[in-house]
Amino acid sequence: MSKRVGIEVSIAIAEAVGLARAEVIPAYPITPQTHIVEHLSEMVANGELDAEFVPVESEHAAMSCCCGSCAAGARTFTSSSSQGLSLMSEILYIPSTMRLPIVMVVANRALSAPISIWNDHQDIMVQRDIGWIQTFAENGQEAVDLTIHAFRVAEDRNVSLPMIVNIDGFTLSHVIEPIELPDQEEVDKFLPPFKPRYKLDPRRPISMGPVGIPEVYTEAKVAHDMAMKKAKRYILKAWDEFEKVFGRKYNPVESYRTEDAEVLLVTMGSISETAMTAVDAMRDAGQKVGLLRIRLWRPFPGQEFRKAVGKAKVLAVVDRCLPPGALCGPVGAELRSLFYKIPGSPKIFSFVAGLGGRDVTVERFEEMVDKARAYAKKRPRELYEVIGVREK
């Protein structure tokens, strides 16, 4: 039987990785991800999890070690944040085109400078195009469920792609929540053992990671892109089966009070909880406001998103990332291309908020909705606005 416990989300994620029977866990400490791997190393030390915990000397080594272990056929997990994720960057593109299904939880945190341990999405947005499947969790339960789901999807032979579950640093990673920890038997039913089609094995030698001459490089990248697009079907299928086993249903885009809404807030991750409170308040005041939360970020669920928008006229998109000199934040840009020149499409405004741990309050969400409404009438010069900048 699954059990409901009050538990720190990081610890619960580690428990989920244990329930998934991860076999190799190369890891390097960085706040706010540390509690996850500390707990995993404890589980290995206590004999609760039969795995190799590899205390590597850097995140770059962690991801390199993950590549080796996954290629050798072991279920592989790691976790990182911010500077650590950036240090991995060179390697991140490699297991995805090589189709090595590593699973990683990223506890999202700001990037230096100035150095900040607090939450936003800059660390993952600079890794947007690494070709990993990516989801964003809103709460602890979801973080646990998406972690188990990630192994199932990544290792599915129809997919064979690495996968990242994003959780907000501190605001999600360090909070204590009531979480239903699934039962081992149920997880085993949902998640079969890892059986890769190809692996490093002297009985059947293959070469992995060869040189891509111009005659083959494009095809390798196109194959990767096609695999990503095709993956959506299996991501959804795994969520359907997840519901059958565990009773919790997940969708690529989650709608909250969107019926007859004129303005929709669009969020990713844990600030969506505050956004829901803001929507409730605005609804109480008679405003037709709703919320869309993107759970599946890569591959981007365009069809589902468009459907979820329905007849709404204005989107107030929250970006937790400020790319200096760009036209707008990455989520805003994604949605603009999704709706470009589509008749009847909504007006889209991008709001950069919650950088480096700055709180995004109910009032801030209300401010975004008001501004988006006003901008829909009179277009501002910039495509985005930073919310909550201190004047003094």
Partner: protein, 312 residues
């Protein structure tokens, strides 16, 4: 002593393995000493091995998709991280064997890279893997520069040598630093086995590689590898140059077994370094003064090595 060595009788000219895990037909330059060394390494290891290759000449020339020269499992991820990739392979096999998912039969795991991949950009990764004690061998194929990118200097480029980033000029005589002692860095990790080898002494090379594979825990073999293209030497002279490097004490052959230095080939009547330097375009510009300095320093380094061997 190391128990794994007891049963190993050693390769002799008579019992050389016929199998070639690294096949011919690859794209190395004519007379490439590095691929020759790699061929010997693979002959010594046989077919029960997984190779983790760093980016560099050997990776490029053996794997232009859809061709491969490798008859054993082989993986290439990036330039600096072969030791970490090997750590991952080793950890995976350890847990999978424990769980009964793969046969218990021992498989060697080798990380291999050039001098740049090993002594410069990959040093941290190698240090980490050695310190954690993974059961693998790391082979450095030292052609004394970044050859794959067009002969730039590395920390292993010898004093005075001309490369594309240590060019001699009005204010320069080529590489200004002495060759980095990477084997000594490996020794400092207290790993059970470290050795230097040369393709001119192929039985010695193969035996050392085999011992590095047999020993439990990390092992390091640093192999001198002439590069006619980068050195401006004649392709047919690669083995001769390799032998001269040993005979002039420029590249001494030794083992360090559990911290004890053992000289494999004592040079009692050394040839002058000039014998070694001539016929290599990379040294052609050097004047008397620099050559004298090289001679003095080579002698002094060799003395240091002798003292280490006496102390052990």
């Amino acid at each position: 002593m190391i128990p794994e060595f007891e049963k190993f009788k050693g390769f002799k000219a008579k019992n050389l393995p016929k199998a070639e895990p690294l096949s011919s037909g690859h794209r190395a330059c004519q007379g490439c000493g590095e691929v020759l060394a790699l061929r010997m390494v693979m002959k010594a290891l046989g077919k029960d091995v997984i190779v983790c290759n760093a980016t560099g000449c050997m990776e490029i020339i053996t794997s232009p998709y859809p061709h491969t020269a490798w008859k054993v499992p082989w993986i290439h991820i990036a330039f600096e991280n072969a030791a970490s990739v090997a750590s991952g392979v080793e950890s995976a096999r350890r847990v999978l064997a424990r769980k009964g998912k793969i046969p218990k039969k021992h498989v060697d795991i080798m990380a291999v890279g050039g001098d740049g991949a090993t002594g410069d950009i990959g040093l941290q990764f190698i240090s980490g893997a050695f310190e954690r004690g993974h059961d693998f061998l790391y082979v450095c194929l030292d052609n004394e520069a970044y050859m794959n990118t067009g002969v730039q200097r590395s920390g292993c480029t010898p004093y005075g040598a001309m490369t594309t980033t240590s060019p001699p000029g009005k204010k320069s005589f080529g590489q200004v630093t002495w060759k980095k002692n990477v084997p000594a860095i490996a020794v400092a990790h207290n790993i059970p086995y470290v050795a230097t080898a040369s393709p001119a002494y192929f039985l010695d090379l193969m035996n050392k590689v085999k011992k590095a594979a047999l020993v439990k825990g990390p092992a390091y073999v640093h192999i001198y590898s002439p590069c006619p293209t980068g050195w401006g030497s004649a392709g047919e002279r690669s083995i001769e140059i390799s032998r001269l490097a040993v005979e002039t004490k420029v590249f001494p052959l030794y083992e360090v077994i559990e911290g004890r230095y053992i000289i494999s080939r004592k040079i009692t009547k050394p040839k002058p370094v000039t014998e070694y330097l001539k016929g290599q375009r990379r040294f052609r510009h050097l004047d008397e003064e620099h050559i004298e300095y090289i001679q003095r320093r080579v002698d002094a380094e060799y003395e240091k090595l002798l003292r280490l061997a006496e102390m052990s």
